[in-house]
């Protein structure tokens, strides 16, 4: 799918969050697109929870290996130095602190870092998959999401109304409007998307944000 310009910039900005040498898990959806913004020789190890470190480029149907998918079902490839392992080892890596960064989608993020992204009671409850442990245990958790839902309601909130994926886990949020950090129980506005005003962001955010003096960086 082609992304809108605003989403594309969000994803490109999120890609800069990845530091050389990191082990990174990119959640299903927008986060997966982040990889398109990394240089081909960038030193990073991508992890997928169904049992691989060292994800290579996604493959088209004709070149796909029927035994090689990521957790979202996409046909992927390996790189030199990839390793396969079972699901217990895969989540051991996550829980024992070897996952430096994960990027996840969100329904709601609260100002204390609570994340809700897996269940809408009565409407959507297909199960949490691997998201719980990624959210709770990655050393750094960043969220990629539109700033508001389709109806225009804010997704950054004082408190989550939906069942939590993990409490207090989110460190940073990339949206189509802004970069927002979660620190000491509050949202901190860090950057603004091109063409978005401070007032737009404040209006689209469901909780008070700490806003620094002076001009904010643009992405």
């Amino acid at each position: 799918m082609a992304l809108s310009d605003a989403r594309n910039r969000m994803v490109a900005r999120a890609a800069r969050e990845i530091e050389p040498g990191m082990v990174v898990n990119l959640g299903i959806g927008l986060p997966t697109k982040v990889v398109d913004h990394l240089a081909s020789d960038f030193p990073v190890c991508l992890h997928t929870e169904n049992g691989l470190t060292g994800i290579g480029p996604t493959l088209p149907y004709d070149e796909a290996n029927r035994n090689l998918i990521d957790a979202g079902g996409a046909y992927i490839s390996t790189v030199k130095g990839s390793a396969f392992f079972d699901s217990a080892v895969s989540f051991s890596l996550v829980r024992s602190g070897r996952l430096d960064l994960t990027m996840l989608g969100a329904f709601e993020v609260a100002q204390n870092g609570d994340l809700a992204n897996w269940k809408i009671p009565g409407k959507f409850s297909p199960g949490a998959g691997g998201g719980i442990e990624l959210a709770q245990k990655a050393r750094r958790v960043v969220v990629l999401t539109t700033h508001t839902d389709r109806a225009g309601n804010p997704k950054l909130l004082e408190t989550c109304s939906l069942p939590l994926t993990a409490p207090g886990c989110v460190n940073r949020i990339f949206t189509d409007m802004a970069v927002v950090d979660v620190e000491a129980g509050r949202f901190h506005l860090r950057e603004l998307a091109g063409g978005v005003s401070l007032e737009d962001v404040v209006k689209a955010t469901g909780a008070e944000m700490v806003i620094p003096d002076g001009d904010l960086p643009r992405f």
């Binding site: 929870e49 169904n50 149907y61 029927r66 989540f91 297909p126 691997g130 719980i132 939590l164």
Partner: protein
């Protein structure tokens, strides 16, 4: 000393699955799902099964055949979002569904396979996933007790097996299979290829033969094993 031969006809191996059996199924999506063994279960038709698997596959594939045939009483899974029938049957109360976080399902199965009673984890603490689970504190840290899972039968897909039941998996088809192959009273492995003893190097074995009871050779693989063409 020589090692026993465990090769077996599929019909005979699957006949051990009676009504009310708890069955573990390897696989994460397509890779590792034992489609041929599942078809034989459908053909034999045991009822009231409890199925433990990562997911419910997609409509028209794998677990979905068991659901469509009305053989399933309960699913223990991590995610069923790709199978609309599973969601409908859950919402209609036609099947019971127990959800686990994915790594928790892996560890519960592993604990069963390791002969442990359960484990203590902080995963899910502070969320509804911890509801109803006994709280256990260790050195001041809050955790919950997760109990071990075992099954009567595990159905496993391997790329290669030798006649003693040593198994090797291919790529991300490994996933839950080595764990489930340790956690069932009877383990049935279907293999794309059966090699003679010694055909898998001892350092390259993923599941050791003593865990496996029956080895069944697959003929030509059906379309279900292939690459799924998506829109």
């Amino acid at each position: 000393m020589r090692l026993a031969n465990k090769t077996c006809a599929m019909e005979e191996a699957v006949a051990h699955i009676g009504d009310g059996t708890t069955v573990m199924l390897g696989g994460f999506g397509v890779p590792g799902t034992p489609f041929a063994l599942i078809h034989e279960v459908v053909r034999q038709g045991p009822k009231d099964l409890t199925i433990i698997k990562n997911d419910a596959n997609e409509k028209g594939m794998g677990v979905d055949h068991l659901l469509a045939a009305g053989l399933v009483r309960k699913l223990i899974v991590t995610h069923i979002g790709l199978n609309a029938r599973a969601i409908e049957m859950m919402n209609a109360g036609e099947i019971e569904v127990e959800f686990c976080a994915q790594g928790m399902l892996a560890e519960r199965v592993r604990a069963g396979g390791a002969g442990l009673m359960g484990f203590v984890t902080d995963i899910g603490v502070g969320t509804e996933l911890a509801d109803g689970k006994p709280r256990i504190e260790i050195d001041g840290h809050a955790g919950v007790l997760e109990t071990a899972l075992r099954a009567d039968v595990a159905l496993i897909h391997a790329a290669r097996a030798d006649t003693f039941g040593n198994l090797a998996y291919e790529a991300t088809a490994r996933n839950f299979s080595p764990l489930m192959a340790m956690a069932a009273d009877r383990v049935i492995a279907e293999a794309e290829e059966i090699v003679p003893l010694g055909g898998i190097a001892p350092n390259a074995v993923h599941t050791a033969g003593p865990f496996v009871d029956h080895v069944v050779e697959l003929g030509e693989l059906s379309g279900e094993y292939g690459v799924v063409r998506r829109a």
